[in-house]
Amino acid sequence: MRHILANIMTYAVAVLLFSGAAAFAWMRSAQLTIAGEESIIARYQPAEALTFEWHDLGRASYQRNCMNCHRSDGSGWDQYPPVTNAAEFLASPQGRDYLIDLHVYGLTSSRWRAPMPPMGHILDVELAAVINWIATEFGAAADSDLLVPADVAARRGLGLSPAAVETRRPPVGPTGPR
């Protein structure tokens, strides 16, 4: 009798673990993002394109999504690159596209052994905000170079692979992006 109950318990816990993991993933992938989308759009949509309030959103997003690998000062560690040169990329059109693409589609390269995971699930506003925040917090990006959500939206739907993003990287100059 004990053994039969124990077997039922084992199956129950196994089902609980796997269905719990699935429920967690469903909630995190669909529910929270949708809820976040509405609240974020409600907050930022009425704002003028160039004056959208990216600073607080960018900082919060950096802490949530980037800091673990790129560190709180953007210096990176081990096989995760520093992000202190984002302002230099923002200064050229090709660099801007590359910077947005590597967030939307991810990036694999031989320069850094850890791949950049695709972050395309993040909304345009939040991606623009976090790139702006990085470029001003860890670099000195000019105000005119900063991104607006429409810049990110324009790079969506290209279907690039992480390796293809690497081939579109702008050439490296002595003062240009590394």
């Binding site: 009798m1 004990r2 053994h3 039969i4 124990a6 077997n7 318990m9 084992t10 816990v13 196994a14 609980l16 673990l17 796997f18 719990g20 993991a21 699935a22 967690f24 993933a25 469903w26 995190r28 992938s29 669909a30 929270l32 993002t33 976040g36 919060a60 997003s61 802490q63 949530r64 999504n65 800091m67 673990n68 081990d78 096989q79 995760y80 991810g106 694999t108 052994r113 850890a114 791949p115 995971p117 695709p118 972050m119 699930h121 993040i122 939040e126 692979s161 992480p162 390796a163």
Partner: protein, 438 residues
């Protein structure tokens, strides 16, 4: 009833501990949600890590936690749920790579980062641990060597897994979350320290001494221990204990044996041990005066747990030992309830405790039915195995107010269990001792 309440309490606490990590993952700052498969994979990783940590709790032999279920159940659950945990851990990287093949490079120890390297190490160690456990007998691994490596590999697996989660985990994104996870992992490893370091220290003050070994026939020896200046141990007839026969309680050489003496005597205890392996074969030659350490009582296979108007015992070979304890206890208690004992073994010579059973029949309302595979020529008792036909001939015709208790080799237990169910014995009237503790 108390046992039921305690049993439910510990299960609820266990489920709470299982789900704590999920709540911890949802405490802000929470990373942005990602695709379903990525999040599913991460959730499986955390579920696997938590389960592997809890394995240390399951094997720590906390009497209060294990008593409601019987520790044999807990240890079997440990083996089963560990497989579930390893499945979750294996799926974790598999889904990650299928979700985005560019992550394949993380599986290359030279191509990844430290987070992925620790993950690979942990996975490798886990798979070795499982293989060594499942195929221990086929690989002919020495039991003590296996136990030592099992502990070492288990600790390594959780340390590597925690390092991986701490370095890679987007969900472990603040110092205080980091601290909680590391403290939890360390606490789990602490349970094994409790079992292998703290418990032996306590055992040192409660040592026993071998006073005698008795040959009971059939390669079976009774090991008699006497308490060394303490009150002994209270147990229920049918329970068992882990025994160490060594100068030091810190030895890993430790084996479980059923008490065979009366539960009414606590300072002088006996164990029936059949020579089946190196340790059990050496018991016959143990010198009186040898120090012994006893971790027990454990187990739930006892008549005291299942009150009934009478009992039917089914013993196969050395499975007789818990019943010896029950019958001797009944004799000491002047218990008038009737007992029918089916005792199956190869031949009459290999049947241990025959003399004692004859004597017990004078003190207890006991009827013994020997079932012999190779009976002597003049044998007029039952032959072969405990088959349905034997049961039909011998079972009392009384509508099963009695409790049936079975202890023996697994095929014998399964056959008897099946036959009893077919004869209308309710499931909760059948108790089985699955003594696979290794």
């Amino acid at each position: 009833m108390d046992r039921t309440i305690a049993g439910i309490f510990w299960i609820l606490l266990y489920l709470a501990v299982v789900t704590v990590p999920v709540f911890l993952m949802l405490v802000p700052p929470v990373p942005s949600g990602r695709g379903f498969w990525l999040e599913f994979s991460v959730a499986l990783g955390f579920a696997g890590l938590t389960q592997i940590g809890l394995q240390f709790l399951l094997i720590a032999r906390f009497k209060r936690v294990t008593a409601p279920y019987g520790i044999d159940i807990i240890l079997r659950y440990h083996r089963q749920i560990a497989m579930v945990a390893v499945a979750a851990v294996v799926l974790h990287p598999l889904i990650l790579v299928i979700d985005n093949p560019s992550r394949l490079k993380l599986l290359n120890p030279l191509g990844g980062n430290w987070a992925s390297r620790f993950a690979l190490l942990s996975l490798l160690v886990l798979l070795i641990t499982v293989a060594a456990s499942v195929y221990r007998e086929r690989l002919r691994l020495d039991y003590e060597l296996w136990r030592l490596t099992h502990i070492g590999l288990g600790v390594a697996a959780i340390v590597f897994a925690q390092l991986h989660a701490s370095m890679a985990g987007l969900y472990i994104n603040t110092p205080w979350k980091q601290a909680i996870w590391i403290v939890m992992a360390a606490a789990m490893v602490g349970f094994i320290m409790y079992l292998r370091l703290l418990k032996p220290i306590r055992q040192e003050a409660y040592s026993w001494r071998v006073v005698e070994t008795r040959d009971e026939g059939g390669d079976t020896t009774t090991l008699v221990l006497e308490a060394d200046g303490h009150g002994g141990t209270k147990f229920q007839p049918g329970q068992f204990a882990w025994i160490k026969l060594s100068d030091s309680p810190f030895t890993l050489e430790e084996h479980p044996f059923s008490f065979s003496s009366s539960a009414e005597t606590t300072k002088r205890i006996e164990f029936g041990i059949k020579a089946l392996g190196d340790f059990s074969a050496a018991v016959a030659d143990v010198r009186p005066g040898t120090p012994a350490y006893v971790d027990g009582p454990h187990g739930a296979f006892s008549m005291d747990r299942y009150e009934a108007a009478g009992y039917i015992f089914f013993a196969g070979g050395v499975g007789i030992t818990p019943f010896m304890s029950m019958l001797r206890t009944m004799a000491d208690r002047n218990d008038p309830r009737p007992v029918l004992l089916f005792y199956a073994d190869r031949s009459l010579d290999e049947t241990a405790f025959r003399k004692d059973l004859d004597e017990l029949q004078e003190k207890v309302d006991l009827e013994v039915v020997y079932v012999l595979e190779e009976p002597p020529e003049d044998w007029d008792g039952e032959e072969g195995f405990i088959t349905p036909e034997v049961l039909d001939r011998r079972l009392p015709d009384e509508g099963f107010e009695r409790d049936c208790m079975i202890c023996g080799p697994p095929p014998m237990m399964d056959a008897v269990h099946e036959a009893l169910l077919q004869r209308g014995v309710p499931q909760d009237r059948i108790q089985i001792e699955r003594f696979a503790l290794a």
